[in-house]
C-alpha cells in the first residue's frame, strides 16, 4: 500500500542560518502509529509545520494523503487533525465555545459534534468547567482542553506534537487509550512526537529519530534497541543522540527572526 505520509529530501532553512530540517526522508504507511523522536531543537516541530501546511519547505517534496501541501493545501488540510505543542486556544472564549468553533470549522455535523464534545470533555475531565472562560484555566487544564479539541474530528492522519507534555499520568493514560481506539477502530494514522521514551515504545509501531535536522535512525522500537544493544528505548535514544544537553533554540531564534524583519516575507522565501 502507498504511504499516506511521505517526505523526500525535505529541507527547511530560515534565511542564512543552517538548515533546521536537513534532507529528511521518511514514509508512514496508512494506519500506522509513527513516533518521531529527537532532542529539543532537532527539527520535529518544523517538520510537522511543513507537513501541516504552516510552513513551506525550502526544498524537497511532501505527500500527505496523496497531496502536496504547497500546491494543494486545502486537500491536505481536509486530511489531518493536529494537537499543537504550544497553546492554540482562544482564551476569551469558554471551553465549550472553543470546542464548538473547532467542530464547526472542521465541518463535524451537529449531532456528532455534540456527542463527541460530551465524550471528550469527560475524557479530559473538564465537564464541570465547560462554561468557564479558558483564561481562567490552569496550564494543565488548557492542555487537556487542547487535546480534546484536537480529537474532535476524526481525520485520516492525526498529528500529536508532544501531546502529553504537562499532563499527569491519569490524563496521559486516557489520552493514549483514546488514540489507540481511534487508530484501531477508524484506522487513523498517528504521527506523534514525545520526550517520554516509554510512551513511544508502547505506542509506536515505527520510530524515526531526528537529531540536528537529520534522521539518524529508523525502525521499530525493538530494532532500535537491538541496533544499539540497549535494554530500553531510552537507552537506545541516548546511545544514538549522545548525552550532551541541547539548547532550546526555537524560542530565541524565533525572536531573532522576528526582530530582523518587522515586515514579513523578505528573508523567508
Amino acid at each position: 500500500m502507498d504511504a499516506i505520509l511521505a517526505a523526500e529530501h525535505l529541507t527547511k532553512r530560515f534565511g542564512e542560518n543552517p538548515a533546521v530540517v536537513n534532507d529528511v526522508t521518511f514514509s508512514v504507511a496508512p494506519g500506522c502509529v509513527f513516533g518521531f523522536l529527537g532532542p529539543n531543537g532537532a527539527g520535529k516541530s518544523t517538520t510537522i509545520k511543513m507537513l501541516t501546511t504552516l510552513l513551506r519547505p525550502t526544498s524537497g517534496t511532501i505527500r500527505v494523503a496523496g497531496y502536496d501541501p504547497t500546491t494543494h493545501p486545502g486537500a491536505v488540510r481536509r486530511a489531518f487533525g493536529i494537537v499543537f505543542q504550544d497553546p492554540s486556544l482562544d482564551d476569551d472564549l469558554t471551553a465549550l465555545e472553543n470546542l464548538e468553533f473547532h467542530g464547526i470549522l472542521y465541518g463535524v455535523p451537529k449531532e456528532t459534534r455534540r456527542a463527541r464534545i460530551r465524550e471528550l470533555l469527560a475524557l479530559v475531565d473538564l465537564t464541570d468547567r465547560k462554561a468557564s472562560l479558558v483564561r481562567e484555566f490552569s496550564g494543565g487544564m488548557k492542555r487537556r482542553l487542547e487535546i480534546a479539541r484536537g480529537l474532535l474530528h476524526h481525520p485520516q492522519i492525526l498529528f500529536l506534537d508532544e501531546p502529553t507534555l504537562g499532563l499527569d499520568p491519569q490524563a496521559r493514560n486516557h489520552l493514549w487509550g483514546h488514540v489507540k481506539n481511534l487508530n484501531r477502530d477508524e484506522g487513523v494514522t498517528v504521527f506523534f512526537t514525545t520526550h517520554y521514551m516509554e510512551e513511544a515504545d508502547n505506542m509506536a509501531e515505527r520510530i524515526a529519530i531526528i537529531d540536528r535536522g537529520r534522521i539518524i535512525a529508523e525502525g521499530s522500537g525493538q530494532e532500535l534497541k537491538q541496533k544499539t544493544a540497549a535494554d530500553s528505548l531510552e537507552g537506545a535514544f541516548l546511545a544514538l543522540t549522545g548525552n550532551t544537553l541541547r539548547e532550546e533554540t526555537g524560542g530565541s531564534m524565533d525572536q531573532m527572526r522576528q526582530a530582523r524583519r518587522i515586515w514579513g516575507g523578505g528573508s523567508r522565501r
Binding site: 492554540s88 482562544d90 464547526i104
Partner: protein
C-alpha cells in the same frame, strides 16, 4: 463549510467584543472628546463664518473616525492570535483562508459598526437630529462599508507584521492622515486646490461624504461616486488580503 467558517469567525469577534466592557467604553472616549472639544469649541467660529452648525457637520466625521480606528486596530487581533497560538488553529482548518479572513473582517466590521452606532446615539442624545429615519438606515450601511474596508486593510497590515508596537505605529502613521485629510472635520470644498486633491485620494473621504449625505442631506461627491469608490476599494483590499493570508506562514 466556507459559510460556516465565516460565521464562526464573525461570531468570535462579536462575542469577544460584547464580553469586553472596557473595549466598548475605551473606544468611545476619543470620538466624544472630538465632539465636545471641536464641536462645542469651534462651533461659534464656524457659525460666524456662515457655515452653519459645526456640531452637526462633524457628527458624520467623528463617527467615521471611530469606525476607522476601531477597524484598523482590529487587525491587531491577527498578531495577537499569532502570538497566543490561536491563529495556527484557524490556519490548518480545512476551509479556505479567504473565508477565515472574510469572517474576521466581517466580524470586526460588525463591531466597528456597533461602535459607530453608539457614537451616533450619543450625538442624538446631545441634540443631533439626522434628516430622516431612512437616512439613518442607509447611514448604517455606509458605516458597514467603511468598517469592512478598514478592517480588511488592518488585516492586510497585520498579516505582514509580527510585533504589536510596530503595528500600532503603522496604524497611527496611516490612520491619522486618512482621518485628518478626509474632510471629517472641515468642508473639503472650501479648502485649497492641493488639499481638495489630496482629500479626493483618501478613501475615507467618500465614507464621510456618503454618511453626511444620509445624515445631513448634503455632500460633495454624490452618492454614486461614494459607493463606487468604497465598493471598489473593498474589493481591492480584500483581494490583497486574500493573497497575503493564503501565503502566510507561521
Amino acid at each position: 463549510m466556507e459559510m460556516s467558517a465565516i460565521y464562526v469567525m464573525w461570531l468570535r469577534e462579536v462575542k469577544r467584543f460584547t464580553r469586553s466592557r472596557s473595549r466598548i467604553v475605551g473606544s468611545l472616549s476619543q470620538p466624544l472628546l472630538f465632539l465636545v472639544a471641536l464641536g462645542y469649541g469651534l462651533g461659534p467660529v464656524f457659525r460666524k463664518a456662515g457655515q452653519g452648525d459645526y456640531f452637526a457637520f462633524i457628527v458624520p466625521g467623528v463617527i467615521s473616525m471611530s469606525i476607522l480606528f476601531v477597524s484598523l486596530f482590529n487587525g491587531m487581533q491577527v498578531i495577537w492570535d499569532r502570538q497566543f497560538g490561536f491563529l495556527k488553529e484557524t490556519m490548518v482548518a480545512p476551509v479556505s483562508r479567504v473565508a477565515i479572513m472574510g469572517g474576521r473582517a466581517l466580524g470586526g466590521a460588525t463591531v466597528a459598526m456597533m461602535q459607530g452606532t453608539i457614537v451616533l446615539v450619543i450625538t442624538m442624545i446631545a441634540g443631533f437630529r439626522p434628516v430622516s429615519v431612512i437616512g439613518v438606515v442607509l447611514g448604517l450601511l455606509v458605516m458597514l462599508l467603511t468598517a469592512l474596508l478598514f478592517n480588511a486593510l488592518g488585516i492586510v497590515l497585520a498579516s505582514r507584521l509580527r510585533d504589536m508596537q510596530g503595528f500600532q505605529l503603522i496604524v497611527n502613521f496611516l490612520g491619522m492622515p486618512l482621518f485628518f485629510l478626509s474632510g471629517a472635520l472641515f468642508p473639503i470644498a472650501q479648502g485649497s486646490a492641493g488639499l481638495r486633491f489630496i482629500a479626493r485620494l483618501d478613501p475615507l473621504s467618500y465614507g464621510v461624504d456618503a454618511l453626511r449625505i444620509f445624515l445631513l442631506g448634503h455632500g460633495i461627491f454624490g452618492i454614486t461616486l461614494d459607493f463606487t469608490v468604497l465598493g471598489g476599494m473593498i474589493v481591492a483590499v480584500f483581494a490583497l488580503g486574500a493573497h497575503f493570508f493564503s501565503r502566510m506562514e507561521i
